[in-house]
Amino acid sequence: MNGEREMPGRRKQKLKWSKLYTFSCLRASADDSAPADKLLGQPGFSRVVHCNEPQLHRSKPYKYSDNYVSTTKYNVVTFLPIALFEQFRRVANLYFLLAAILSLTPLAAFNRVSVVAPLVFVIGISMIKEAVEDWHRFLQDRKVNSRKVMVHVGDGLFVRKSWANLVVGDVVKVSKNEYFPSDLLLLCSSYEDGLCYVETMNLDGETNLKAKRSLEATLSLDEETAFCRFKATLRCEDPNPSLYTFVGNLDYNQESYPLSPEQILLRDSKLRNTEYAYGTVIFSGADTKAVRNSTRSPSKRSRVERKMDHVIYLLFGMMLFISLVTAFCSAIFTNDADVKRWYLQLHASDDSLFDPNNPTLSGFLQFVKALMLYGYLIPISLYVSIEVVKVLQAMMINNDLAMYDEVTGKAVEARTSNLNEELGQVEMILSDKTGTLTCNQMEFRKCSIEGISFGGEVTEVDLAASRRMNIDVERHRFSLDGSDSTARSIEMFDLSTADGSTEKEGLGLNEGGKGRNSRISISDKERRIKGFNFRDGRLMDKMWIYRSNVGEMVMFFRVMALCHTGIPVDDKTAYEAESPEEVAFLIAAREFGFKFCQRTQSTMVVQELDPMSGMEVMREYKLLNLLEFNSSRKRMSVIVSNEDGEIFLFCKGADEVIFDRLSEGGRTYQQATVMHLSNYAEDGLRTMVFAYRKVSVSEYERWSSVFAKAKATVCPERDELLENACEMIEKDLILLGAVAVEDKLQKGVPECIDKLAQAGLKIWLLTGDKKETAVNVGFACSLLRHDMEQLHLSTSNELRMKDVTEEIMSQLQSFNHVISEEERRDAPFALVVDGKALEHIFRNNHLCQHFLSVAMNCDVVICCRVSPKQKALITRRVKEHSGKTILAIGDGANDVGMIQEADIGVGISGMEGMQAVMASDFSLPEFRFLERLLIIHGHWCYRRISKMIVYFVYKNVAFGLTLFYYNMLSGVSGQELYDDWYMVMFNVLLTSLPVIALGVLEQDVSSDVCLQFPALYKQGQQNTCFSWKRIIGWICNAVLASLIVFTLTVSILSPSALDGRGNPADIEHIGTITYTCLIWTVNCQIALIISHFTWISHFLIWGSILCWYVFLYLYGALSPARSGNVYHISSEQIGPAPAYWATTLLVVVASLMPFFLHMAVQRSFFPLDDHIIQEMKHSKTDVTDSPMWLREQEKSKQLTQVGYSARVDAKIRHFKDQLHRKRKSFYLSVTNSRH
């Protein structure tokens, strides 16, 4: 090897990666282009792009769309018709529209304004809300569209232009870590061989970098000035959503080159590890594959709201029924009254509503009129109140300081307020992994070198378990009398020594959490090195050189420093590599004294710490071969020769792969390493085994020729030949040890999952990553634990379609068997399934049902290697199958489908990508805020909205029915008891505000109690607050209340005089008094159901009642022309009458009595959880008897199978079992020895 030729100037940095790689990065062979040639020009493959001549595409025949991407629902013109149409899709709104139209006819039951105004108001508010939400989308779009990119404007000049102004054919220059503004054809990159790396996380969720490479023909275009004369024509497929295919041809310099997906850079992916890349725009704006893949976010409605529709239908039914009764009775009355009731002059036949000659028609018209009259049964203002309340609730959520992330400066955002209450009913969470649970950042945590584990022995779970056990035992000891205490303290000792691994920590726990805290604070004070979270005095600060087996340690570190694909950047202090794990290894190696400094085409320079001298020396290694990692090999090797000419093969890989290839003499530490590996894996760490071998020069040369021959072959068996060649050299390895890196979880993830699990939520993990990674993360965030039965569902590659189906079926059946037959019903199950199996499962309906029923019975389901489409599909199928409320959470564009499909979609906004957030209903800066969002806000919002709706139904039914009763007493003529304006005021001012206070401020228990008792969340899942039982109960309450109010007032006030002045009550008096009673009743009713009175609630409730009297006074003070018979009613007529006030008191108490008794009986004898907890808080039991308070917290979560605490519990059970067995065997041995 003659080293690298020094490149002139700007090419100094360039590396030819294609030379390094063995398997991938091959040029597309000639025969691949055949289908493209045939297809091009056919329908579906008609696109022509003139590269670097964007002006050509502005005119016909092209007219390609510009690069502006819009996600808004409406524009200025379409807003009115579409939004109005949407509004009138609500049945109730349609009904009110009809009522409004009818009110313009002589059939009108009320005056026009009182019918039309509320409708306009309701629809107006909803439409304003729509408009505001769409405006926000527009702003978001504008932000994206105004991102800048360098665009060629001619003569080799590049200027910054905003994304929206890009046109097909433009040549753009994208720099490192920038997103591609549209779908580009890669022309050239900063690497000499036209390679560039892209991160497609936003598209498909895969975290590893993907290599793209330009055609060789365009490699020369690597300078800005080179584009002066660049012209080429591209023919390709029409815009389509397929991310992984591309068919096209590039005509350049009179030659035609076939194109493949390898040359296409997709919008929403990001340029990584590459200084810059040039590309020409092929698809822009709406034509890009990313946009084609996105679907319009469906408008979602919460479960409560959908049920509310059914309640409205029920009320419609009621209304129809009483209208029919009214119509029937009216026809009879009219027919009958013809001759008899002379004072009505019905025979005049001037009013078809009361035409005795045609009672059928009269009946029908009365029916129509009754539908309007009883419209109060349908709470029109309910919709607007709910909208207002939800906006306010969303404001509360957005402003919650506890959900504000200081690091990113972002707060939670409720992007739609439609789903607030749905947050309180979630039963399943489908979570993405990368970026959601994890940070996509690896940290070096532990290593095992030659059978000795470094970097902390005890797992966190063991630690917590032993601590908890000590507390338990302590409590027991105090509760028992003195004589027993010694025995107990012995048991305590036993418990803490039950497992060898907890020994140290268990005994050292007398200092309690203090030691732990101090440790953490020290680590915080230390300089944190990103990617390196390792503390062990035996290795750190060059201490390892004093250990006995230095030689092997050096080898171990060399593997770390040499066996990778990384390159140093930023003055050699940071690294870039294909996977973040490799970066973590390089950083760790640097910390141990093996600093990887430089990579050239064929050499690697490492600054090594020489254990003999303790000095740092520079060593240069010649890189002979790099056998890279891929998913089937599961290992990576480098062959290097050092300065002395010795040839080494350094290998790292998955444990089973490496263990198979060890030499007889190289297995010294295998047993210890295996144990360590399983410990690491249980902690959720990703492990990798290191091995090496020394290769003699002659062996290498022999192998090298075989390998070169395999490499040169161009035939389908090439891969196999290469594999075989690698097998030849990757054998007889000597095991060095293992390393464990942590796929770093985001802050607070395990705790959050723990709480969510306690709240009864099932959590599924859907990830595009491979199975091992997914399982590791499952362990890390305590979704999985060791004593869980893991059911792995996968397919073998070779089988045909039908066989695969059968294979999956039989697997599922055996799982089903295991789950159902198992005697230990409490044993938790985890199902791990990969994308390939899912593909088959979702193709077959029967299989799908079977799969879902198995999955539902498992406590955790992990789906790995799933595509974005599959994520969405799983979400839909699970939703359909289980009928449960599903929340999907993710951060990338690959989660968009899932987010839109789920009942609630949550996007993580902490990261850079916006697609998930844009598609989501709620955006969180970090996963951990989900706990607060669901358990507190969800719980509250659910209870608030449900209470609000049932109350609304109550008040409208109570009010509407009095109209019906009165109508029956007024000759079924459609006469109202109340003045028109009273009726308008009822929903507008007099009863609406307290409900809004209820919907915004009500709290059954305070936020900290919600968190302490996540089990309270189950109320939402079981829908206790909005069950049919409860709704019907409230309707009955309303019927009862209306009957009591109406019959009592009417019987009291008629027919004798109203007061000492001798005047009997007339229609206005009775109406006003009845109305007063109703206002008091409904407002006091809400006071009865509120359990959290702030000054606002008090103000609104009592203010509403006061408002009524003020209104009555003012209305009566208007001139008689306006107020009619209400003129001076309160000041002159009923106000001074004691009977008015006495009736009010009597009727209000009587009408509330049934509910009050129901409440008293329920609270006293059948209390619900929230009642008890309220009482405990009220009597301050949580302070005075805190052990009890804590014990109940423990008990409330005892059935949880998933999460950190469940895992600790399981561990404790395990310890106790062990102890029990030990004691038994001890007892047996003692008794045996006695005999």
Binding site: V339, K340, W342, Y343, L344, Q345, L346, D350, G409, A411, V569, A574, E576, E912, L969, S970, G971, S973, Q975, S1007, A1015, L1048, I1052, S1056, A1057, D1059, G1060, G1062, N1063, D1066, E1068, H1069, F1093, T1094, I1096, S1097, A1121, Y1127, H1128, E1132, P1138, A1139, A1142, L1146, V1149, A1150, M1153, F1156, L1157, A1160, S1164, D1169, I1173, Q1174, H1178, T1181, M1188, K1195, S1196, L1199
Partner: protein
């Protein structure tokens, strides 16, 4: 890759930190009343304590009211099958003499009412058949559009007061005498003052009233302005229910117990076609109004029920007590698995 993430963050860092307020953090101070058993019993006892006395007061007030009711519709008509024919015939003598006994001493003012049964004064067609503007202002004489079919005479002249209500004005008259001495019935101030001063105009005079082919009820003196036609005002305040009383007049002298009162009734009003009863009511009134036992009884009933329930609740708590905040009632303790 690590360094890039750091460098790209600060540029985007726009702090959207919410501003702290107790309202937005949902930490407003609140009272959280809990319906404890003691509170339930307390409330029920309070209700009893308040309601029973009020009930007693109302009952005693109602007890003090002396009311004489006399149904005369069937007595004041020859027992023929031609009741309707009789009443409609303007030529027949409809005078009818009734005699009443005062059961207890009645103190002035004593109110004289007429009570109609099965008369739908609250029928929609009837209620809206009036013109308030016309009643108040002579200028609006012709605004009779709501009054059909009694808006205009056959030749298109507006009727004042128009509408079915006025047209069907009650026209039985009562003349009371005690020991052959006439008892003066004062027909002043029987309508609400606001009606006299603001609704029935002082310079609006009846016109074309009861001139049509159909004669409804009473006639009006065309020389007296509407603001003094108090009978009309009372009648025009439509009753809420088909059974109603309206004030006829007041007697400004006391009546002693067992005094016999002779009533001379002009039985003009046709309630026979719809089997409506007609009653003459002579009654005193107190703060609670006329004779009204119902309100007092209801107060007693609710007070009594509260008391009984309070006792039942207390007994239940004695025999089946549930300590406040008893954790054994929590759902996870109730169904142990």
């Amino acid at each position: 890759m690590s360094s890039d993430d750091v460098s790209s963050l600060p540029s985007k860092k726009v702090s959207r930190k919410p501003i702290y307020s107790r309202f937005t953090q949902q930490e407003l101070p609140a009272c959280k009343p809990i319906l404890t058993p003691a509170l339930v019993i307390g409330i029920l006892i309070c209700l009893a304590i308040i309601f029973i006395p009020i009930g007693l007061l109302a009952l005693s007030a109602s007890e003090n009211v002396v009311e004489v009711v006399d149904r005369y519709d069937d007595a004041c008509i020859p027992s023929t099958n031609q009741k309707v024919g009789f009443i409609k015939d303007p030529a027949t003598n409809k005078t009818c003499i009734r005699s009443l006994t005062v059961p207890k001493k009645m103190r002035k003012p004593i109110y004289v009412y007429y009570q109609l049964d099965n008369f739908y004064q609250n029928h929609r067609r009837y209620v809206k058949s009036r013109s308030d503007r016309q009643l108040w202002s002579p200028k609006s004489e012709s605004s009779t559009n709501l009054c059909d079919p009694e808006g205009q005479t056959g030749d298109g002249k507006p009727i004042v007061p128009c509408g079915l209500i006025a047209w069907s004005l009650f026209n039985d008259t009562y003349a009371l005498s005690k020991n052959d001495a006439a008892l003066q019935i004062n027909k002043k101030d029987i309508a609400w003052r606001s009606d006299r001063t603001h609704k029935f105009g002082p310079n609006v005079y009846p016109k074309n009233f009861q001139n049509g082919p159909l004669i409804g009820g009473g006639k009006l003196d065309e020389n007296i302005p509407l603001s003094q036609q108090e009978d009309l005002m009372v009648w025009m305040r439509t009753a809420a229910l088909p059974t109603f009383r309206k004030l006829y007049g007041k007697i400004e002298t006391d009546l002693e117990a067992n005094e016999r009162i002779t009533v001379t009734i002009q039985n003009n009003y046709n309630t026979y076609s719809f089997n409506g009863k007609k009653k003459l009511v002579i009654s005193t009134a107190t703060w609670i109004g006329g004779k009204n036992d119902f309100i007092g009884r209801m107060y007693m009933a609710i007070g009594g029920t509260s008391l009984v329930l309070a006792v039942i609740f207390s007994l239940l708590y004695v025999f089946k007590p549930r300590p406040l905040g008893d954790p054994s009632y929590l759902s996870w303790n109730k169904n142990p698995q």
